[in-house]
Every structure is written in C-alpha cells, then in structure tokens.
C-alpha cells in the first residue's frame, strides 16, 4: 500500500531501540522448563555475554535469538520484529567449528558468498583469509587444521556474509588455554573494528569479563536471567587490574549460589533414587 499513512519514524528512539530482545520468553522441552519468562535487550553494537552453570538455558536463549527454536510464550524480536527463523543476518558460531569437510579453507570461508562474479568472490575470500591470518592455508582441508585454526575459519565464514549480529555458542570452550587466549585477542580486534552486535555464551567468567560490555548472569531450574552487569572498563583489559579482579569475584559469588543450588538438587535427586 504505497499511499498508506505512517507516523514518521522517531529517529532517536529508533537508534536506542534494542537490536535483539526477548519479551517474557519461555521455552519448555517436555516437562523441563528451559527458560521461564526471560526478558532481555541486546543493544546495537554491544558485546553481551551470557554466563551461568550448565543447564541454565543459555544455549536455549541463543537458539531463540538464532531462530532455531521459537518461544512457547512471549516473543523473540530483532529490530522490533518477531524472529521467524534462522538467517544470515544473525550468524551462529558453534562450539564445534562445523566446517564442511569436503571444501578447502578458502571455499569454507566463501560458503555464504555468491560464487559469481568469480573475481569478486576470490577477492573477498582473500581479504577474509588475511583478516584471520590464514592466507597460507587457503588450499588445505579442514581435517588438516588445528582446533584454533578451524574456529578462525568459522569466524571468517560468518563475517563473510556481513551479518548484523554474531551469536556465539561457547565457541572457544573446546580449545586449549593458549589458543583461546589468541582467539580472544582476534575476536576483540574484529569486534572493535567491525562493530557487530555479539551475543556470546560461555561458562568461563574470565572470558566474559575480558570481552563483554555487559554480562547477563543466568540462574537454573527454571532458566532465567538473574542479573545483568555493566562492564565499564576500557579494552583491551588488564587481567591483573583490581577492577577486573573485583568484577570476576563478584560474578563468581553470584554463580556460587547457583552452583550450590544445583549441587543440592542433584544430591537430593541422587538420594531419592
């Protein structure tokens, strides 16, 4: 309806509008309540981490935003519109790099790109290879790469389609500490330069404190958001600074409660069995 009348968009409000949001979202799997009445706004361009013990529903929350799952109640929105399904505007990076084993590193990176015109494709892939420092490995297959290299390919593959949002589901959990450290630096560099909105699921408090603008601490059974903390510290962050240490301790304290609850419950169930 080209002549329908609309209210003019209010620019400041539109700018402040969250990129992604959950409004009273719940998700059940059979009898298990994975998420209960969760509301959360993800701001445009921010790096938000979700931390919490296993089973708190942080992956489920991410899957609602990705569109892999739909909330049973409430809504999952992007730019104020309901999320209908997965799509390349919200690219998901998994714990397993999930590269396609039959493609070379270069073609994995170019997976989401149009293959024609050929020159443009090759140029873009070349740029991305340099971005993640893998230009020497362009023609190898995934099975010839280390875990850290694979995850860098996955990152480049995601960035190739220029998504507005990156949804990262414990992407570095399977890596050794040294590789993880390197990838933290790499991700931080990319995020600072590319201004993507990132939602980052992790069970590592260090990782969350190091990378995030905000940290949502989740609680278990039913899964919900317990608290959202702002991290007003400049990047890159010094891990030995008192502020960082203080924040880490505070989050640990919050999570200790949750872990104790979890342990009690498991103990209970064990006893009942």
């Amino acid at each position: 309806m080209p002549f329908a009348l609309h209210d003019p968009p209010v620019r400041p409000a539109a700018l402040e509008a969250p990129k992604l949001s959950l409004r009273g979202a719940s998700k059940r799997f059979g009898g298990l309540v994975a998420l209960a009445d969760v509301s959360l706004d993800v701001r445009r361009g921010e790096f938000l981490s979700l931390v919490g013990p296993s089973g708190c529903g942080k992956s489920t929350l991410l899957h609602l935003l990705a569109g892999f799952e739909k909330p049973d109640d409430g809504a999952a929105l992007m730019d104020g519109r309901p999320i209908a399904g997965p799509g390349p505007d919200r690219l998901v990076i998994f714990q397993d790099p999930a590269l396609l084993p039959w493609l070379t590193v270069a073609d994995n990176i170019g997976f989401g790109l149009p293959k024609k015109p050929r020159e443009l494709y090759e140029e873009t892939v070349g740029l991305l290879l340099r971005l993640v420092h893998l230009e020497k490995f362009a023609h190898l297959r995934p099975h010839e790469l280390s875990g850290g290299m694979k995850q860098r390919v996955a990152l480049a593959r995601a960035l190739a389609v220029d998504p507005q949002v990156l949804l990262m589901d414990e992407p570095f959990a399977a890596l050794d500490p040294q590789t993880r450290e390197l990838l933290h630096l790499e991700l931080q560099r990319l995020w600072l330069g590319l201004h993507k909105t990132v939602v980052f699921v992790t069970h590592s408090v260090e990782e969350a404190v190091r990378l995030s603008d905000r940290i949502a601490i989740m609680a278990t059974q039913p899964g919900r958001i317990r608290r959202v903390l702002d991290v007003d510290l400049p990047h890159p962050r010094d891990f030995n600074s008192p502020e960082v240490a203080e924040l880490r301790a505070a989050i640990r304290e919050e999570m200790r409660d949750e872990l104790a609850k979890l342990a009690r419950r498991e103990g209970d169930e064990g006893w009942r069995r």
Partner: protein, 243 residues
C-alpha cells in the same frame, strides 16, 4: 568258491579316472593356452562384452531404483518405517535366491538375468543412500540454516556432499552384488557372456576353460572395484580426511 578277480574292470576304471583327472585338473599352461585361444578367436571378448553390457544396464537400473528407494526412505518417515526393515532384510538375501523367482516370472530369458542383477544390487544401493542421507550431522544442517540456505540449496550444498561417502559405499557394494547375481543368472541362461562360457567349459569337461573364465570374472570384478569405485572413493575420502 573261486575268488572273483575283477582285474580288467579295475584297469578300465583306472584309465577312466586318469582321463577324468586330466580333464578336471587345470594347469597354468593349459589356462594360458585357453585364454590365448579364446581371445584370438574373439569368443572371450564377445563374452566379456555381453556380460559388461548386462551389468551396465542392470546396475544403472539398480542405481536409479535403489537411489529413489533410499531417498524416499530418508525423506519420509512412514516410508522408512514401512520399507526400512524390509530393505535391510532383503539386502542380506543372496541374489541367487532370486533366480527361481526370475525364472518363474520371466522364463529363461534376458529379462530374467537382468531382473536378478537389479534386485541383487538395488537394496545395497538403497541402504547406502538412505543411511548416507539420514546420517548427515545435524550441526551441518544448522550451518546451512544460519546461512539462510533454501531447501534446495540445503540439499545440494550440505546433504548430498555430506552423504557422498556412504552413497559411494552403497553403490560399490551394489555393484559387487550385481556382478555376482549376473554370473549366477548367466549360468542358468545366456546367449553369450562369461557365465555362459563357464557353463560351456563345464559341459565340455574342460577344466582349463572353467578356470580361465573364472580368472576373467575375477579380473573384471577387481578392475571395476579398484579402478572405477576405488579411485573415486579414495578421492572423496582423502578430501575429507577419512582415508
């Protein structure tokens, strides 16, 4: 009572056995002579050609039907529940068991032999295709989804390449089952073919010919397995770091 002395019949028996033994025991030289003669006269080339044509037609048909059966089972759960156990069961049935059915339905005809080849190989192909398609890692499907692939792109870019090793294994097994079925079929009926040459050798009491033809069957079987399937399979697996 005078003892029976069957000297002369015994001698005859020995002579007969010796002749039979010579006919029944092949020698390398005899086999080589037979092969040379067979190729020179064009008999073996004709037999090879006839068998190759039959296996090609039968296997192509089996790949088509088996592929369709596998795809249907992978795509539709009711079809899988209905045909799944049957496919697995029938696949284990030696192709020779289909011979009586083939003769009953088609008589001693070319169609009967073709039928044997097709049913001998079709279920192995169907199993490979079905399991290959069904066992695509769910995570790779998710990758396709997050990149916004359409259903069709999902199939061409994720499902088929991911299922390729299993599909190839199914085709390879289907081929070897089909080849066996063809030889069994050709023993019963064939105007020409390696199985026919085998029967001809037996009828002539010529062990050299029997072994020579067996050698040909073996060679062709190994050659197709190694050269056609082996090369493709090795490439596919090596790419994926599986070989």
């Amino acid at each position: 009572m005078a003892p029976v002395r069957p000297r002369i019949p015994l001698l005859v028996l020995f002579a007969f056995l010796a002749a039979a033994a010579e006919a029944a025991s092949p020698s390398p030289a005899g086999i080589a002579r037979n092969l040379a003669h067979g190729f020179a006269s064009g008999v073996y080339l004709k037999a090879l050609g006839a068998s190759a044509l039959r296996i090609a037609a039968g296997f192509a048909l089996a790949a088509l039907l088996g592929g369709a059966l596998g795809i249907l089972q992978a795509a539709f759960a009711p079809v899988r529940r209905l045909c799944g156990p049957l496919t697995t069961g029938v696949q284990a049935l030696p192709a020779v068991c289909w011979l009586p059915v083939a003769l009953l339905w088609f008589g001693r005809s070319e169609a009967a032999v073709l039928f044997c080849v097709v049913v001998g190989s079709l279920f192995a192909v169907a199993l490979g295709v079905r399991d290959g398609l069904a066992q695509v890692p769910p995570l790779l499907r998710r990758v396709g989804q997050t990149f916004g692939l359409t259903r069709w792109q999902q199939i061409t870019h994720i499902t088929i390449p991911a299922a390729l090793p299993a599909i190839l294994a199914g085709l390879k097994q289907g081929w070897s089952f089909g080849w066996r079925a063809l030889m069994a079929g050709e023993l019963i009926y064939a105007s020409a073919g390696l199985g026919r040459s085998l029967t001809a050798g037996r009828d002539a009491g010529d062990a050299n010919q029997v072994f020579a033809v067996m050698l040909l069957i073996l060679t062709l079987g190994v050659a197709v397995d190694r050269l056609a399937f082996g090369v493709v399979e090795k490439r596919v697996l090596a790419r994926r770091g599986l070989a």
